[in-house]
């Protein structure tokens, strides 16, 4: 590693006030757009494919391949849509918020280039309603970009036309699921859609659509400006780029850091977050949100990239890490996680709608000292059943990731609760520290 470049956060300003359009231009902004408009859409997609940019929202799908699936050419259907998934609601994740609030023009430039690559006519930025600051700043950035000729008809004289809408959600986790997001934008009850067809063929209002995460897209101008080889060189792993890693829990300095993709969990925990607070020990982490399996302390040397985290039985997810310390009950943490999933299930698929509340009830009973030995079999059965492809979307499989890993790694704690008929952590369950 010869350089320590941080393209996504290079333009952050002290105090967090974002650059306006002229400030962003002065700092080199919208140069990548100028370059992109001299390229063909195919060349842009080719460069993004070579950069090995993978989705930063949790799925990890190759961005270039997603774009490639959109039918283009004279007889391809119109309109075509680009939708930015700015509905950051994965518990423990707060990275997209930083980019939306503090680099809105980087977001807009990313949208324009990406829309050009798939020849989209209309782009939506789908933002969770609680991100009030982000919504205001994005709306202002769109207006400024329009006034400067970056958005509208005949962008910078290229002939390319794009409209950008900033949409505030009504608030529901499932809207972050890409097909549910499209349904939400159509003004319907946002339940995920069965596939096929894929959104790239038939998405918003039945037209070709691509949904990409905020952080994913914000990499695109930098890839176009500096090339795929440069982007690959930023990473310590096989896939390209940096990653906005976050860490929350009882660490000395909770926060967000842009680091090379593949930085080790240990380095993030010890160097960047400053290690655990005095008197706390980190037993395990959820490496990338509520939908990722526990990574135990023995595996903290894992590189936080897509393939390495899978090798230790979990997934990179959003790369925003949550630490479980020794003063909190793992069963209580699970009960909290499954409560979240049960609440936020859209209710369409029966296994998810009925299974998740059942799981939550069992966990609550175990935590209250009312668990039975056979409860563990019932939980294991749910993990097997809900992780399979019996549901339209990944909410239920995601919900089973922490539970499945906990049944393995926290077996002794489960059994202790059931045997002793109480929670060993019961006197810390409702304390501040």
């Amino acid at each position: 590693m010869t350089t320590m470049e941080k393209p996504l956060t290079a333009m952050l300003q002290p105090g967090g006030i974002p650059l306006d359009v002229t400030g962003y231009e002065r700092a080199g902004g919208y140069q990548a757009l100028r370059k992109a408009l001299t390229m063909t859409p195919e060349a842009i997609i080719g460069e993004v494919k070579r950069s090995k940019l993978r989705g930063r929202g949790g799925g990890g799908f190759a961005t270039g391949r997603k774009w490639e699936a959109v039918p283009t050419g004279a007889d391809a259907p119109r309109q075509r849509y680009l939708v930015v998934n700015a509905d950051e609601m994965e518990p423990g994740s707060f990275k997209d918020r930083l980019l939306l609030e503090q680099t809105p023009h980087q977001m807009i430039e990313s949208v324009i280039i990406s829309a050009f690559a798939i020849q989209a006519d209309i782009a939506y930025i789908f933002v969770r309603a609680e991100y009030v600051l982000a919504l205001g700043r994005l709306a202002r950035a769109v207006a400024e970009a329009q006034a400067h000729g970056y958005v509208g008809t005949n962008i910078l004289g290229s002939g390319f036309a794009l409209t950008i809408h900033v949409h505030a959600s009504g608030g529901r986790y499932i809207c972050g699921e890409s097909s549910a997001m499209l349904t939400a934008l159509e003004g319907r009850r946002p339940i995920p859609r069965s596939r096929p067809p894929r959104s790239a063929q038939s998405g918003l209002w039945g037209k070709p659509s691509v949904v990409n995460n905020v952080e994913t897209l914000c990499n695109v101008p930098h890839i176009i400006e500096r090339g795929a080889d440069w982007f690959l060189s930023l990473s310590r792993g096989a896939d390209g780029g940096t990653k906005l890693y976050g860490l929350s829990g009882r660490v000395k300095r909770p926060g967000l850091w842009e680091l090379p993709l593949g930085t080790s969990l240990n380095e993030i925990l010890e160097e960047h977050a400053g290690g655990m607070q005095a008197g706390y020990e980190c037993r395990a982490v959820l490496p990338g949100g509520a939908s990722t399996a526990f990574v135990m302390a023995a595996d903290f040397d894992v590189a936080m990239d897509f393939t390495s985290v899978q090798k230790v039985g979990s997934s990179l997810g959003t790369g925003n890490i949550m630490a479980l310390d020794d003063r909190r009950c793992p069963i209580g943490m699970l009960r909290n996680l499954e409560h979240f999933f049960a609440q936020e299930s859209c209710g369409w698929c029966t296994p998810c709608r009925d299974g998740l509340p059942w799981v939550e009830r069992i966990l609550a009973a175990i935590e209250a000292g009312e668990g039975e030995p056979e409860d563990l079999e019932t939980l294991a059965h749910h993990v097997a059943f809900l992780s399979s492809d019996g549901t339209f979307c990944d909410l239920a499989p995601g919900a089973m990731a922490p539970l499945g890993s906990a049944l393995k790694h926290f077996r002794a704690e489960f059994e202790q609760h059931i045997k002793e008929k109480c929670c060993p952590w019961h006197d810390t369950a409702e304390t501040w520290a």
Binding site: E88, M89, E90, P91, G92, S93, F94, D96, R97, R128, A129, E130, Y131, V132, H167, A168, S169, G170, G171, R172, Y173, A184, L185, E186, G187, R188, R189, P190, W205, G246, L247, S248, G249, R250, P254, G255, L256, L286, A290, N320, M322, A323, L324, D325, R328, G332, M333, N336, L337, H339, F340, Q343, E344, C346, A429, E430, T431, W432, A433
Partner: protein
């Protein structure tokens, strides 16, 4: 709620608001796509979306009330029942749980004399749980109306509540 206030909340949408909603519908590619935005406009004015207002909005968007209600009731942030002057959204997701969400909840419930989902006697606050607010590096966290508050403890909670009359 006083009778006068009740009357106001049940009054038909005025011409200006109807026009705003019609403009939203015009701008959308299909009218129904403006549903969430339209419901939020109504909520901004009246605090919540009453049955009558829901039916009026549905008519403007060429939907049945049931269709629009299936959208309205789906969302965490569309209120179909009256709420207090200020709405507290207390994050109950896992990053906050680790950092003392239960203590924050107990403190708020005791101070306000309500359970989650309830409004104080004086109509000042409604206390609701919300999923992860993306403020995890300052957990435990909450929002009051459109303001975000983090690093909550008992003293800070008391001070924050004082700021909302």
């Amino acid at each position: 709620m006083s009778t006068a206030e009740q009357d106001r909340k049940d009054a038909p949408l005025d011409a200006a608001l109807r026009q705003e909603i019609a403009a939203l519908a015009q701008h959308a590619e299909y009218k129904r796509a403006a549903g969430t935005d339209a419901l939020k406009l109504v909520q901004k004015r009246f605090g919540f979306v009453s049955d009558q207002h829901l039916a009026e909005v549905a008519a403007l968007l060429e939907m049945t009330p049931a269709e629009l209600d299936s959208v309205a009731t789906f969302y965490n942030l569309i209120f179909r029942r009256p709420v207090g002057r200020h709405v507290i959204l207390l994050c109950d997701s896992v990053a906050c749980w680790v950092m003392g969400e239960a203590a924050a909840r107990n403190h708020l419930c005791a101070r306000l004399g309500v359970n989650l989902g309830e409004t104080t006697q004086d109509g000042r606050f409604t206390l609701l749980p919300i999923v992860c607010l993306g403020h995890c590096d300052h957990a435990p966290a909450m929002m009051v109306d459109e303001d975000q508050h983090g690093d909550l403890d008992a003293a800070r909670l008391d001070a924050i509540l004082e700021g909302y009359r």
